[in-house]
Structure formats: structure tokens, C-alpha cells
């Protein structure tokens, strides 16, 4: 089958403003959008620029807007999006070139919520044990791959990039509800700001965009509840 694909193009060294290039490529229904982009790069235009790494939905490199929806190009099949495809960079972050955006502001927000284990007590001889029930409490939010599909689908983030964003809150959630961690109060104080969880309007775009099916809006609501109640279980 033939697929017509419109690709967002922008070269800051040559272009005054972005434009779309159209390519017609041969594809199988089970080809992924990433396969099409690689065909274009290999056989049509070697200057096309996009991120990819594992190509199996684990590294989170190739998040992009496919037919207006944030997806991982390596997880979307041609048969699921049809023979007319439009590919754009994710919104809300500055485009560096073609489908590549500047991820630094995204990772700055991620770092701001202290996304690492905090416990100043001396570690036990073997390991810090945790019950299966306590592990289950934050299991969902351990799945985040930092692809930014959620944050860049969020209307609050589009309107103000100072908003910490769903991905950062998800990664804060992962540690806030970990009963071995002692940094919950610090993280909740950080998120208890105008640009923290209170900017979330529960639009649910993030939950729909997440390629890992994380219940992001629910995780944000749980963080809000922890802030208002002070209870972490």
C-alpha cells in the first residue's frame, strides 16, 4: 500500500519558518510510523531529523504528534492511522530541527521534584525490605519512560511552560508513595505551588497520550489529596 505522509520540517539555519514536506512511501499495514520516517530518511531525504533509539517503546525517544495525537512513532502501526499521516513535533517545547524539540525545560521540571530515593538512615545490612502491598501503591508510576508525550499534550503546559507538568508529578508520585522513602514532605511542598499540581485542570489529555497507559490524572489527584490531607497511604 502507498502512504502519504506530511512531515513537519524546520531547519533553523535555512528556514525562516516551518513548513510541511509531503512524501509518498510504500508500506505494509503492520509497519510502524517510525519505519516510514526511516524509509524517508534512507531513500527520500537524508536531512530529515528525528530522535529514535530502542524503537520498541521503552526508551521514549520518538514521541511526536501523529495525526494530532501525541504518540511514540515506534508503537503506532500504519493500519491504525490510515494512509494519510501527518507528523509534527510535540507541542510546548522549542523545535530545534524537524521533529526534534529542546527537552531541557522538560528535564528541568523533572529534576525539580527530586526524582530519586531519599533516606538518610543507615542502610540495613542486606536491603530495605518492602511488602508487595506497599510496592503496589506506586507500581503504576514506575512505568514512566520520560517520553514527554503527557506533558506536551497538557493545555496548562501549553499556556505556561513554567508548569511542572504531568511527567514530573508522575515521577514525584513514584517516590512520595514509596514507604522506604523519606522525602515526601519536600516533594509535596514543591508541588504545592501555583505551578505545581494546582495547575492541573484534569483535562485527561496526559492519560490518553501516555504510551505506557499510566493513570496520570489519577496519580496527580492522589498527590493533591496527599497535600490536602497529609496522608501518604
Amino acid at each position: 500500500m502507498q502512504v502519504t505522509i506530511d512531515v513537519f520540517r524546520f531547519d533553523p539555519e535555512k528556514d525562516q519558518k516551518p513548513h510541511f514536506d509531503q512524501f509518498v512511501v510504500e508500506a505494509e499495514p503492520v509497519d510502524r510510523v517510525l519505519d516510514l520516517l526511516e524509509k524517508i530518511k534512507d531513500y527520500h531525504d537524508g536531512s530529515l531529523t528525528f530522535r529514535r533509539s530502542c524503537a520498541h517503546g521503552v526508551c521514549g525517544s520518538d514521541a511526536m504528534r501523529i495525526n494530532g495525537v501525541n504518540r511514540l512513532a515506534c508503537k503506532v502501526l500504519v493500519q491504525d492511522v490510515g494512509t494519510r499521516i501527518k507528523v509534527e513535533p510535540i507541542l510546548g517545547l522549542k523545535v530545534k530541527r524537524d521533529l526534534i524539540v529542546d527537552m531541557e525545560p522538560f528535564f528541568d521540571h523533572y529534576k525539580s521534584v527530586l526524582p530519586y530515593f531519599i533516606n538518610d538512615e543507615a542502610p540495613p545490612e542486606k536491603e530495605r525490605l518492602q511488602s508487595p502491598e506497599a510496592r503496589e501503591r506506586f507500581d503504576d508510576t514506575t512505568k514512566c519512560i520520560l517520553c514527554a508525550a503527557c506533558t506536551t499534550s497538557c493545555p496548562s503546559f501549553w499556556s505556561d511552560s513554567a508548569y511542572v507538568g504531568p511527567a514530573a508529578i508522575v515521577n514525584a508520585h513514584r517516590f512520595i508513595f514509596d514507604d522506604r522513602d523519606q522525602g515526601a514532605a519536600q516533594r509535596l511542598e514543591i508541588l504545592n505551588q501555583q505551578m505545581g499540581v494546582w495547575r492541573c485542570r484534569t483535562a485527561f489529555n496526559c492519560t490518553e497520550a501516555c504510551p505506557r497507559d499510566i493513570h496520570i490524572t489519577q496519580a496527580i489527584a492522589e498527590v493533591k489529596k496527599a497535600i490536602t490531607s497529609g496522608k501518604l497511604d
Binding site: A162, E189, N192, G196, W198, I227, T228, G230, D233
Partner: protein, 127 residues
């Protein structure tokens, strides 16, 4: 397993968020009670100035309507504040806007409250 607890300081955002939830819970019985009374029990064709004066002649309905006005208007104004946040990116400006909206809410609610109590008393005196 013992419940883990932390102490988080409550700020303007926390209070505003709680206010939206709690005021919505209070609004539901107030609004449904209002609709039930006006549209079902009394009926819109029976509502005139005399009915309104008699209804608001009781302290219960004066308090009821002032609460309905205060909660509904606060709910709307806080919603407006959230919408404006999308367009006002300077934190200082937004703080000023928040204060202005609070004064706006307090003034309109006070004016409405005075109208409910005073105007009705004046109408009752003329009956």
C-alpha cells in the same frame, strides 16, 4: 501498617482548591432546593414581587439566598481566576488580579446580601 503522615503548609492555592470542592458540595443542595421550590413547588408563573417579598421575609430564605449567591459567585470567580492564569504569566500581576477578584466577589456578595435584606424589608413595609 501504620499510616504515614506529613505536615504540608496550606497556602492560597491549597485553600482555593479546597474552596472549589467544598463550595460545590454545598452548592448542590442549595441549587436543587432553589430549583425545586421555584420551578416545581411554586411554579414560574406564580412568582411575582409579592411572592419574592414574602419568601425573603423569613430569615431562613434570606440566609439561603445569600449563601447561594456567595457560594455560586465564588465558584465562578475562582474559575475565572484559573482561566486568567492561562493568560497572565507574571506571578506578581496574577497575585494582584487574584486580590482584585476577591474584592470583586466580596463587594458583589455584600451588595447582593444588602439588597436581599434591605429591599425586601422595604417591600414588606409597603405591603
Amino acid at each position: 501498617m501504620a499510616t504515614r503522615q506529613v505536615k504540608i503548609s496550606q497556602n492560597y492555592e491549597t485553600i482555593a482548591w479546597k474552596w472549589m470542592r467544598y463550595s460545590a458540595i454545598l452548592l448542590i443542595p442549595l441549587v436543587f432546593g432553589h430549583v425545586l421550590l421555584q420551578d416545581v413547588i411554586v411554579g414560574v408563573y406564580e412568582i411575582n414581587a409579592d411572592y419574592v417579598a414574602r419568601r425573603l421575609g423569613t430569615w431562613f430564605f434570606q440566609a439561603y439566598d445569600i449563601a447561594l449567591l456567595g457560594f455560586a459567585f465564588a465558584h465562578g470567580v475562582n474559575g475565572l481566576r484559573q482561566v486568567l492564569r492561562d493568560f497572565i504569566h507574571n506571578p506578581k500581576t496574577f497575585r494582584l488580579v487574584s486580590i482584585a477578584l476577591f474584592i470583586f466577589w466580596a463587594a458583589i456578595t455584600a451588595y447582593g446580601g444588602i439588597a436581599i435584606v434591605m429591599a425586601v424589608n422595604a417591600k414588606l413595609a409597603s405591603l
